[in-house]
Symmetry: C2
Subunit: 575 residues, 2 copies
């Protein structure tokens, strides 16, 4: 039996919690599912619209992917589905290729989800989960802030009902200047009222007076978008607002999501590939960082490759069920956990409730104004636009700060995917830059100790016969020249010199370029009758140096500690 | 007076040696110049041919650039002029654009030299000399070997007199298969005889019997190409070899190199830019590494930015005097130094002698067979094709070895510039790869000492309450995840754990992603009632951490030494 168990667990991680399922868990999971779909229905439709797709696809995107993730994913509370940034990236990928909302556009969105699924699945199966490390925190933060800004601006068109573009800020400003005179004032007023409702109601609800009267208002706050949606549908229906120019969602087909392989051909796949790769990367980063937050608490090591596989299958199923790329949603995951979800079954229940909605309640959303969905997106996304991280990062490290600004301007001035790419590449360049400028110090002995410190910062003991140096970086082709230059400079200022000792305590690796540099330096110093010594070489470095000519040709010796070297080479100064 | 001196030295480094010039130096410089031009005349013409240009341009390329470098360059013996690899790169850049040898091709070669000059000059003036570090030794070595192979193959067409192509090996094999049946057998025999002469004569000359009779044969060996050139011209002239199909250099215009700005337009400049940048880079690498070899001996620090400026001006002058890109030649520099050149005046004399040749002796070279020039190139270049470095490098480091093979196959399978680019990029990726896989160890105390070592390699003292770790790499976004994963894994295997101590002695920098990882880990461990401590943080790292929240939120303490930490946290085990 236990053998069967372990085999089932490998094939289907869900077996782990399914076999311990009971009535208590069922109740809390179901309750949590109801709360989550109150958020999910308006969010799903709004994010579909953000991606330039019919709102119903936002519901489709929450059905199969959620069930699939529950079966194979590693996090019990992660809520998979449409997410603002991924929707925005979908839009940015497809918008230049097809007319927004056209049948080919919709088919391409499904294909994109399918491709994101294939990429994630392959990376996961090939154990490429470590690729996530390529994106540094400052770049991610900056990417999210800049994307949020663009997303909020991109929704502005629904508030004024003119075709503003928002792939980047210059484009937005240009189209704003061109079209703003044609805006629909009724829609604008309607939209602004919704915005105010969404912004100020939570503040009113959380004020002391209200709280004391009706108890906890957390759930009501979360359901505000749904309340607004219902109220606005009623308003449009009863006040006949469509006649004054308020645009609505329109007829939504009801029923199960149509299951089919999205239309594809090789050219289209190649065109979509860069976009799909970026979406796969960001959806993985998003999803994993949310899932990881819960992992350590349970002393369970979240397997990043398995998460990639789960995310890949979820996106594959999205592509096959007429939906668009999905990932883990931070807001819904938090709500899911807070409202008591115990197992992934909560996700399955949410998914089943969404099926009910798309089977029987789509007609209800026909009169939902687009401006309301836009207001929902703007309010939820605007919280992310926060420039404090820029200041904090800059204060900690200029390099990280520069990477942040490069990403930010790349995203808002070019487009969301290109900006991210530029940001990632900039962090690599900045890292290589830092490696190429190592900290090198001439060191001397602090009297009465065996510690050596920078002669420029501390009052230390030195000998004119002896030059003793330390480099605080691994030696490689990027900094070997600098080290040699520093050494030549130090030698040429010192006529009495007999010995150079390099303290290797900070060196964890030496590449061939650096070894050859040391060989050169050793040979050249030898001609000047100066001996080169090394001290405190680490084990793995020493293992490698055995394969080089350096140790054979070294004019001096290798010392275990720097203090020993000093004592032996200049016993008159260092006792 | 001394003020005037120092000002002159800044503007014109040549002033330093010019004012101390005397008759003795004059004599040795002049002698050395005669020896160098015995090499330079055939080499210059051969390398011009290699670049797909008329042989006379090889002489032009040795006139102005050499004088200019003598005035502003930093090395007294560096011999500037046409060089095989740069000629090959010139060919690789221009060949896809224009018909080889046509007037536009020749104009473009001058423009290329001019652009290489401008790029080098700008980089030098803006103090970008450090860019040279971007190329690792293994990549340079592999690039030179692969280029030498291509160059030798490229000359093969002159030995068989059919239009073989050799931008890469597949192309060469294809054209070989197509054309070899049309080859000219007389030219082939003539070429093979020359090859044998150049290969075996030095061996015969250096054999003991000959040496004892005529003394030192070093100079004769160096002059062999010139002897062959003269002999073959005589053979062609007196035996009328042109009638049996031996192709010769043909009419060469005599006179000074025409001075003019090369024809240019913006489109052409943009097309040539990548090639010019690669040539500037390689000519700088070549030139600087040759110049540096002499610099340390004189305890003089060669300024890489000044070398860039000198090389830039030399190439500018090449572009303006109907020549093609130039750089320092290793073979001629060695001969120059060996034959007693004392000052850069030797270069000036060589240059003046070349002027005499191009004024009065060009007619003499009319009957020089192309196969002879090709043989000269093949013999001089074939010495560079040596696969020992591949084996040695592989033995020292797999990463360096991989970079070498990538460069090699990039060059021989695509083309010389693309291959170099791929090689350079591969070293960056491999470096980032190594950083992303740091060596992390759980460490314990070696009894009776204060030293800590890897618990898997040594017999050490540990405590079950205490996890003590060391990472042998700077912490950044590339390895923060790995470190966190390692830590989570180590923690989850240890139920009694109360303290985690990270030994930071190998960490010289921590980026923001890694600080945030540590903050996360600290918070998560704290919830499990495990305290996080840090030990042996370096000064500069500590300075930076002051700006982060980590130190404020740290659940544990910061210890000066790891031993102190162990003693305080688990006094029962570590006394």
């Amino acid at each position: 039996m236990s053998d069967l168990n372990s085999r089932l667990m490998t094939l289907l991680p869900a077996w782990q919690w399914l076999r311990k399922y009971n009535q208590a868990k069922f109740k809390s999971d179901l309750l949590s599912a109801f709360i989550v779909i109150a958020m999910l229905v308006p969010q799903g439709m709004a994010y579909a619209m953000l991606a330039g797709l019919p709102p119903i696809m936002g519901l489709y995107a929450s059905i199969l992917p959620m069930i699939i993730y529950a079966m194979v994913g590693g996090s019990p509370t992660l809520s998979i589905g449409p997410v603002a940034i991924i929707s925005m990236m979908t839009f940015a990928t497809l918008n230049p290729l097809f007319e927004v909302g056209s049948p080919v556009y919709i088919q391409a969105a499904c294909l994109l989800a399918f491709m994101v699924g294939v990429i994630s699945l392959l990376l996961g199966l090939l154990k490429f989960g470590f690729l996530i490390q390529l994106i540094s925190h400052p770049v991610i933060k900056s990417f999210i802030i800049a994307s949020a800004l663009l997303i909020a601006l991109g929704q502005f068109k629904f508030l004024v009902d003119v075709p503003l573009k928002a792939n980047n800020i210059p484009e937005f400003l240009l189209s704003f200047w061109q079209y703003i005179r044609y805006s629909n004032i009724e829609t604008f007023i309607f939209g602004m009222l919704s915005l105010c409702f969404l912004i100020y109601m939570p503040k009113i609800l959380s004020s002391h007076a209200v709280q004391s009267r009706i108890g906890s208002t957390a759930f009501i706050s979360k359901a505000l978008p749904l309340i607004l949606v219902v109220a606005s549908i009623a308003a449009v229906y009863f006040l006949n607002l469509k006649e004054i120019g308020i645009k609505t969602v329109g007829e939504i087909p009801s029923g199960f999501p149509p299951l089919s392989m999205p239309y594809w051909n090789m050219d289209l796949v190649i065109t979509l590939l860069p976009g799909a790769a970026m979406i796969a990367m960001i959806s993985f980063v998003e999803s994993l960082s949310i899932a990881q937050a819960t992992a350590l608490q349970q002393r369970s090591d979240l397997n990043s490759n398995q998460e990639l596989v789960a995310l890949g299958l979820a996106n594959l199923s999205a592509g096959l069920s007429s939906a668009f790329p999905v990932t883990g949603s931070l807001s819904r995951t938090v709500v899911n956990a807070d409202s008591g979800a115990k197992t992934p079954m909560a996700g399955v229940f949410s998914s089943l409730l969404i099926v009910l909605v798309s089977l029987y309640f789509t007609g209800f959303f026909r009169d939902l104004p687009l401006a309301i969905l836009a207001a929902t997106i703007i309010v939820s996304i605007w919280k992310l636009v926060d420039f404090k991280p820029f200041i904090e990062t800059w204060r900690y490290s200029k390099a990280d700060g520069i990477a942040m600004w490069i990403t930010f301007f790349g995203v808002i001035c070019i487009d969301i995917s290109t900006g991210l790419m530029i940001g990632i590449v900039s962090t690599f360049i900045l890292l290589l830059w830092r490696i190429s400028r190592p900290h090198i110090a001439v060191i001397g002995l602090i009297e009465g100790t065996q510690h050596f410190r920078n002669i420029q910062r501390h009052h230390v003991l030195t000998s004119s016969k002896l030059l003793s140096m330390r480099i605080d970086e691994n030696l490689n082709f990027l900094n070997a020249h600098i080290f040699k230059g520093f050494l030549i400079n130090a030698v040429s200022h010192n006529i009495d010199l007999e010995h150079v000792v390099i303290n290797c305590s900070s060196i964890s690796s030496i590449d061939l370029s650096a070894v050859e540099m040391l060989e050169d330096v050793n040979a050249e110093l030898n001609k000047l009758n100066i001996k080169l010594h090394l001290s405190e070489i680490k084990g793995p470095v020493m293992d490698k140096l055995q394969h080089s000519k350096l140790l054979k040709h070294l004019s001096g010796k290798i010392y275990l500690t720097h203090f020993q070297a000093m004592q032996q080479l200049s016993p008159d100064v260092f006792q």
